[in-house]
Amino acid sequence: MINKDLVIIGGGSAGMAAAIGAYDHGIKDILIIERSPFLGGILNQCIHNGFGLTEFKEELTGPEFAYRFIEQVKARNIPFVLDSTVTSINRDKLVVYTNAKEGVVEVQAKAIIMATGCYERSAGAIGIPGDRPAGILTAGQAQLFLNEYGYLCGKRIFILGSGDIGLIMARRLTLEGAKVLGVAEIMPWSNGLNRNMVQCLYDFNIPLYLSHTVSKVVGKERVERIEISQVDAHMKAIPGTEQSFNADTLILSIGLIPNNDLLNSISCTMSRTRGAIVNEHFETDIDGIFSCGNVLHVHDLVDNVVAEAREAGKGAAMYIQGKLPREDQVIACLAGDGVGYVVPQKIVLDESEDSLLFKFRVKAPSKNVFIEYNFNGEVIKRVFKPVIIPSEMEIESLPKNLLKTNQGTLTVSLKAKEA
């Protein structure tokens, strides 16, 4: 068994930034454990540009963004192991990983940061009616095959789900010679950024079918045809609205699920969105175990992931140094009217910063609304928003001096502007 101050599980953008955050706050004895053969995680297959506008004030591709963090990790001589899978963790922070060279390795850590990202919702999760032939895959799979290994997954492709990965793949597959027949989205609004709607769909005249879903897959060996239908207010297919497409491939971009198997195995408390419940230092309800990046909640921008992960790294450093308060008194943070979730879900209210960041998503697009912070029955802050949409995460700073006590309930909700 080896001992480490801090073990970070996952060597993507969150894991690397967390390591840098911890290192820069005085914790040098770190190990990053990465499952794939490279640091950088999913950034390596995201060869499109648009990353780094906040972090580096320039527009980078995924591999370029990853490279800048790999260089920062290497400049600090932070150790990492690749091709290595963590098989278990326990509440005493014993981490077991395995790889082909070292066999099974036990690491006793003082703190752990979970930075394991997400996996994609797959066909089984939504139960599409019809056959189960070859040619149905997730957008991320199609992206990995095409961008890192050079395999085009089909010639006539239909995409279900208008999230950013689906839109990015519509463009990428078109540029590589496939015909993208259309994108169907079950919601009445797109789930992607405007930038991606314009540059990935409109540029290539790819039709978007809002309030539609795939209602049938037909094919014996391979997908031969798919049907889409309009959906009603309860998201049920409306009979008689079927449209047929001669597709050989169906790509799914229908959501990401935090990869929390390890935390679930030790009964960590989870939120409704399947990320861990954390405080403002990103510590879960298990002493010394932290969570950040997409495994905590799905971000739209990697720039926000690395900023969050550095804070989690700092939080883990403070924990190891005995500087994090171990109090029973906490403020519970709740998502109120119109708000889907908030992170953090609890506040310990120590002296380390003057303000804290709230991140949340709204449930539906709204115009001319206030974000209202209600603390123990009193409105302590209101922020006007001309436009607010679910596909863009809101990040708001809340000064700590507005919180007069360290117990109670803080609710974040949307309020319509009075006429």
Partner: protein
């Protein structure tokens, strides 16, 4: 009079813009929308990202991009040029893969380090 309809990409508001022959932009909430509308109608540009084949590296493909945005209409020609390139490892970020691609004055450059493997 021909009017072009666009969706502004500057912010989540996504204003529906109308741009006429005289480059008058309407429907924009802020000045950034007017600038975007004019640019999109007169000279729309895009950054193209793709991959080129490579041998001697750990992976069979090296990701690349146009170092600056190129005229939107040249995207498919540039894809044809990119698909003819075959690199040898090592290749490093920023290495020029195609210079002055399709006469645009813009280089196609590598976006990932691809080290030589023995």
């Amino acid at each position: 009079m021909a009017v072009t309809e666009l969706i502004c990409i500057n912010c989540p508001r996504g204003c529906h813009l109308k741009v006429d022959d005289q480059l008058n932009v309407s429907g924009n909430f802020c000045p950034r929308g007017a600038a975007y509308g004019k640019q999109e109608v007169t000279n729309p540009t895009r950054t193209v990202t793709s991959t080129v084949r490579i041998s001697g590296a750990e992976l069979p493909l090296c990701p690349v991009k146009t170092a600056q945005p190129i005229p939107k209409g040249k995207m498919s020609d540039i894809m044809v040029s990119i698909n003819q390139v075959f690199l040898q490892a090592p290749v490093h970020i920023g290495d020029v893969v195609i210079s002055n691609v399709c006469g645009t004055g813009v280089n196609v450059v590598a976006t990932r380090n691809m080290e030589k493997i023995s």
